[in-house]
Symmetry: C2
């Protein structure tokens, strides 16, 4: 790779013609309202759709996949135009098995849509698919990532415009890495004034807030965003709450689960209220109106 | 704000009933394929659409706004169902004037869609709108941000899955801030092993690469992504190129303009090739397949 590679160029003989494609599809943070047109089209035309119960529910909400009553007990759904899709329920413990099954479907000539919430790469399923493809020597499987709106963007829009300057995302899950690595990233981001979006913060969020607090002032703004884009269909209902770094740890009742993100503003982040509500805004680089 | 505020709660009397809404709408990195359903619906139903020539072209590509021949010389477009929309061309030097005009339209009862590429907050138009609303005491204007797919996500999908661990975005534009601030962020992100996505990198990208290079090894992977999601409709055409930190500065012919992003992998980022192409992938936290 040292001399560079056009990643669109063929490396060997190309995929066999009788293969389908494995699409890893992001459906955005919530209901299909926040799904891209491309994601919707890929799911609608896939021969096999692999998705969790919650995402299946979201996808049925606007007809992206057929209703329960159009689906038989083997999971075969018949669309209004007669096209049949196999709808496979994915669950946490079966990720490897499902990736292997996806490769088999593709080899049978089927297009597979493997559904992720948000963006498939941002703490989603993409890295597993590539790891599995490597492990299984599955170089014959064409893989395409269909991007989606990640929770940072959906959550940001719900509170206003807190991401208008450089931002970073940090996952607080320490399942596959030590807390020291997470702490190092948080501290670096806090010191150098990134806006910080915390993912997987249903656990450890108080520790994360404490670390950032050591590097920033207590009056820095924090937004706690739940189930962005999901209205009442999420596990806890869509909501947003604006507080400060000094008080964020006191609001653990607002940090409810996997659908929660925390957005920690930088030293320029401010609130602005109109007659309806209060917004959180990070002006870019301290410029004022005359700079535009 | 110290005791926290539900940002959905009314603060004073609420917006006058005769007002429209100012929507700041992200249309994603490229053609309408990567626009969300919500963004499309908001633009289709707005009385006034403010967008640059390039974005107007993208929006006409799938009929989100009416064709040139359905639009008269005053910019009034008539949709197939007879609904009339005023299409306003936005240009760089007129941002303040256009924001003020948008407030006036909303006060006349019109819904306005102010169109941004990508996500409106990530180096987009949101912060200007809020700054202008503050400057003009426009507390009567309801503002809603409609999020969009930012270039980091679109570009990442085009090369594979480089953002599968903590990442940050850094704008290299030093128009409103000193280079020292940009350098501090780059260095912090490089040392603490974030995947780094560079925006506005048509200038200064070699300096940015040089800084990251001081903190990382020369064989770290870099993707240069152009016009993600735009196919041939962008200024330079959609393309992606994988190189290394040590050689990235030699490829200035690939860094073509405003539609270019650089994705700098972390120490775990690797390439993987199948029979079609080479992908860039960042496995999360060093886990292997058995961890899933």
């Amino acid at each position: 790779m040292s001399s560079g590679a056009e990643s669109t160029g063929a490396t060997t003989g190309g995929t066999p013609d009788d293969h389908g494609t494995l699409y890893v599809v992001g459906i955005g943070p919530g209901l299909p309202d926040h799904m891209t047109k491309r994601a919707k089209e890929v799911i609608e035309s896939a021969d096999v759709v692999i998705a969790s119960s919650l995402y299946q529910e979201f996808l049925r909400a606007d007809g992206t996949i057929p209703s329960e009553k159009q689906t038989d007990e083997d999971g075969v759904a018949t669309r209004d135009d007669g096209f049949e899709q196999e709808i496979v329920r994915s669950t946490m413990g079966r990720q490897i098995e499902l990736a292997r099954a996806a490769f088999d479907y593709v080899r049978e000539g089927k297009d597979v849509a493997h559904v992720s919430g948000g963006d498939p790469s941002v703490y989603g399923k993409s890295d597993l698919i590539f790891k599995m493809a490597e492990e299984e020597d599955a170089t014959d499987i064409p893989i395409e990532i269909v991007p989606g709106l990640t929770a940072a963007l959906g959550g940001s829009a719900n509170v206003g415009a807190p991401l208008c300057n450089d931002f970073c995302t940090v996952s607080l899950s320490d399942k596959w890495r030590g807390w020291d690595e997470i702490e190092e990233k948080l501290r670096a981001a806090a010191i150098s004034d990134f806006v910080i979006v915390l993912y997987n913060c249903w656990r450890n969020y108080e520790q994360a807030v404490e670390i950032v607090r050591e590097e920033r002032t207590d009056d820095a703004y924090v937004a706690i965003v739940n189930d962005a884009g999901r209205e009442d269909a999420g596990r806890n209902g869509e909501s947003q709450f604006i507080t400060t770094l000094g008080e964020a740890a006191d609001h653990d009742d607002k940090v409810s689960g996997m659908g929660t993100s925390l957005i920690i503003g930088n030293h320029e982040t401010e609130t602005w209220s109109n007659d309806d509500r209060t917004y959180l805004v990070t002006p870019r680089g301290g410029r004022d109106v005359d700079d535009f």
